[in-house]
């Protein structure tokens, strides 16, 4: 039978992997708190999830990913205003897993309520995608192809500080979409 022994903290420190600050933020958890009208109430703990509550330290709260459409819209519009997006954000219910889009005739940015983006419940995911769409909004009418514009939007998105804290799946998919555009000027 194997003998069980205790390890000292020094021994543990040598054998356990080191967790980066960014990883610690994810593990510790933390919360951006909004009320249902979309008013930002504050931040508590460390992390990146978004909840709806009546006050910053309310014990009753809910994740934005299960909120009703109007509450989601209110919160997204507050985030969008904070980064200088023009107009209001729309909510679509598309069946093809798109995360977001920008209507090139009206400039309106919409987020898909049925996508994994909303499931991620990650403040930085929302911020990062909105930065991407903001670039499209800022460059309406530029004489580039859509593929070139999309490529530049990914560069804008990746360069924004929000990208440091996006979820792993959004980071991977963003980089992959970017790589495809970089290498072949297409998504394929």
């Amino acid at each position: 039978m194997k003998k069980l022994t205790k390890k000292s903290l020094d021994e543990l420190a040598n054998s356990m992997s080191i967790i980066s600050d960014a990883e610690q933020m994810c593990y510790n958890g933390g919360t951006y708190v909004y009320n249902s009208a979309g008013t930002y109430l504050g931040y508590r703990g460390t992390g990146s999830d978004v909840v709806i509550a009546s006050s910053l330290y309310a014990t009753q709260f809910d994740s934005i990913s299960v909120a009703d459409d109007q509450t989601i819209l209110n919160v997204l519009n507050t985030i969008a205003r904070g980064i200088g997006i023009n107009g209001t954000i729309g909510l679509t219910h598309a069946n093809d897993n798109r995360f977001a889009e920008m209507d090139s005739t009206t400039g309106k940015i919409s987020i898909n309520a049925y996508s994994e983006l909303l499931s991620s419940n990650n403040y930085y995911d929302y911020l990062s995608i909105l930065q991407h769409e903001k670039y499209h909004q800022m460059t309406i009418g530029y004489s580039t192809t859509w593929e070139q514009n999309e490529y530049q939007a990914f560069i804008h998105q990746i360069n924004d500080s929000s990208f440091q804290n996006v979820s792993v799946f959004l980071r991977d998919y963003t980089i992959d979409n970017y790589n495809n555009l970089h290498n072949s000027q297409s998504y394929y």
């Binding site: 990913s65 009703d68 679509t92 093809d96 897993n97 994994e116 593929e147 999309e150 394929y188």
Partner: protein, 240 residues
Amino acid sequence: MKKYNYFLLIFLLINSLIGLIEAQQFPKSKNLSEFMRKSKTTDIVYINDTVIYLMNKSPLEVFSGYKDLYASFNLPQPPNLPWMPYGARVNLHAAYHVTWFIRDCMLYLGDIEIQNAGICDYKSFFPNNEQYPLMEELTNVKFDKKYPLPSNSRPWPYHNPTGMMPATWFNDTILIKISTTQYLGGQGRLRPVYCSDFNDTIWFKLPAPPIKLDKWKKIPSEELVFKNGRLISRKTTDIY
């Protein structure tokens, strides 16, 4: 000797010219999916009613004009490049796409989806479900109540009010590859959304996180062979 020096000089000049031309080109991609490059349709197919696969071509291709079948209905045009996770869907321009099903080795046309309309807003384009009789006219096959649509393949109901259409015209080979996004019951708590088309509130779970790309890229596509709509061969390919 002098003659050989000339040959060597010409060889070096050609070599450096080729190098210069190659340097101007985009590098060959390491990430691209060959299947995605081959795919020319936004149609999807469910196998066993639950798992979503992408397709390389639509079984409707045999009918000329199928892309413009609903041209008179002024369907909304999709945005040029919506932000979409790679491998979730084939990101092409199309006014509509078809959801297919393979059940008991038979291919069925399950439903007709407007590419750029909310899933609860189809009635504003097809107030009397005009899309279905027009599809029957195109294919000369009827939607049939004998082949009901599954109730659990996705979080929202299908619009097709009758049943599926067996694709008896289809005698061809298609490639399929699993989509990175699957519903499979979704995740989290149920979320209510009022749906005007159904005049009801729909409760649904959000999709689970997509399949990790590294894993997805290593999944080969499959070749399906059909005869009169019946699947007669299914084999793995070396197309990724």
